[in-house]
């Protein structure tokens, strides 16, 4: 199993447990960044605030998560997942991790809000 896949599986375990502090401590580098089309977050403190405060306020409770595409090397993870959330409904998460020393150094998210993204049927039928 690649290092990337190990990190991804651990990430899913932390998310399922709701253990944001543990996830940040063990999974991310000190100088990590989350890069999205809406914002860039630098460092564990900023990521922690987003994951514990901003994201739950926006999406509400995450009720389901289905990974539909996944691949990994020793320093990269890419995945597409369908997420069911309390406030946003169903949306497609398109994320990647770039790892340094087996931790997430760049968390890259190409996820769009459901209203801005192409519809789910489009993902399933075309590209």
């Amino acid at each position: 199993m690649s290092k990337g896949l190990e990190v991804f599986q651990k990430q899913m375990e932390y998310i399922q447990r709701g253990d944001v502090d543990g996830m940040l401590r063990d999974q991310y580098t000190d100088d990590c960044e989350m890069v999205t089309f809406e914002f860039v977050l630098r460092g564990k403190e900023a990521l922690g605030h987003y994951l514990k405060v901003d994201s739950p306020a926006k999406a509400g409770q995450i009720r389901g998560f289905k990974t539909v595409h996944l691949d990994a090397t020793d320093d990269c993870v890419i995945f597409v997942a369908i997420v069911e959330s309390e406030k946003l409904g169903r949306f497609i998460a398109r994320d990647a991790f770039y790892l340094r020393e087996d931790r997430i150094h760049r968390h890259i998210s190409l996820t769009l809000p459901p209203t801005a993204d192409r519809p789910l049927w489009d993902l399933e039928l075309t590209s």
Binding site: M12, Q16, E33, V35, T36, F37, V40, Q61, R63, G64, F65, K66, T67, V68, H69, L70, D71, A72, T73, D75, C76, I78, V80, E84, R94, D95, A96, Y98, R106, I108, L110, L112, R118, L123, E124, L125, T126, S127
Partner: protein
């Protein structure tokens, strides 16, 4: 927009001109890795094979729109729509990409693009549900 936009536009220019030599020499580390859902390519030789095949299969590009773009000091992310082929058989691809830059060149090219061939292999069912409340 800063250096990343210029780098991205230059990348498109190399591809539009079918200049794979220039693209690899100027934009990719010799040991760069491209990570996609249809394969991993390591180094210039594998990237060259990929780009040659990709540009050939795309054929004539009729339309390219960059819908979303963002950059940091070492990362570029973008979403674009590409339409190619003849009117009778025009194809549309949604390209979702990230470039991790090191020393001014692409170190990791990450593509979250889902190709139609993968949609046909039932991977949605294969990966299954990690959890569902």
């Amino acid at each position: 927009m800063g250096w990343g936009r210029d780098f991205y536009l230059e990348q498109l220019g190399f591809m539009a001109n079918n200049d794979i030599d220039g693209l690899l020499r100027q934009h990719y580390h010799e040991d760069a890795v491209m990570v996609t859902f249809d394969g991993i390519r390591r180094g210039h030789a594998e990237l060259r094979t990929y780009f040659e095949g990709r540009l050939t299969s795309l054929g004539t590009i009729n339309y390219l729109a960059t819908q979303y773009f963002a950059e940091t000091e070492d990362t570029i992310i973008f979403k674009s729509v590409v339409r190619s082929g003849t009117n009778a058989a025009e194809r549309e691809i949604h390209a979702d990409n990230a470039l991790v830059i090191k020393d001014g060149k692409i170190w990791r090219h990450i593509a979250l693009t889902i190709l139609p061939m993968y949609e046909d292999q039932g991977l949605y069912e294969q990966w299954g549900v990690i959890w569902q409340d």
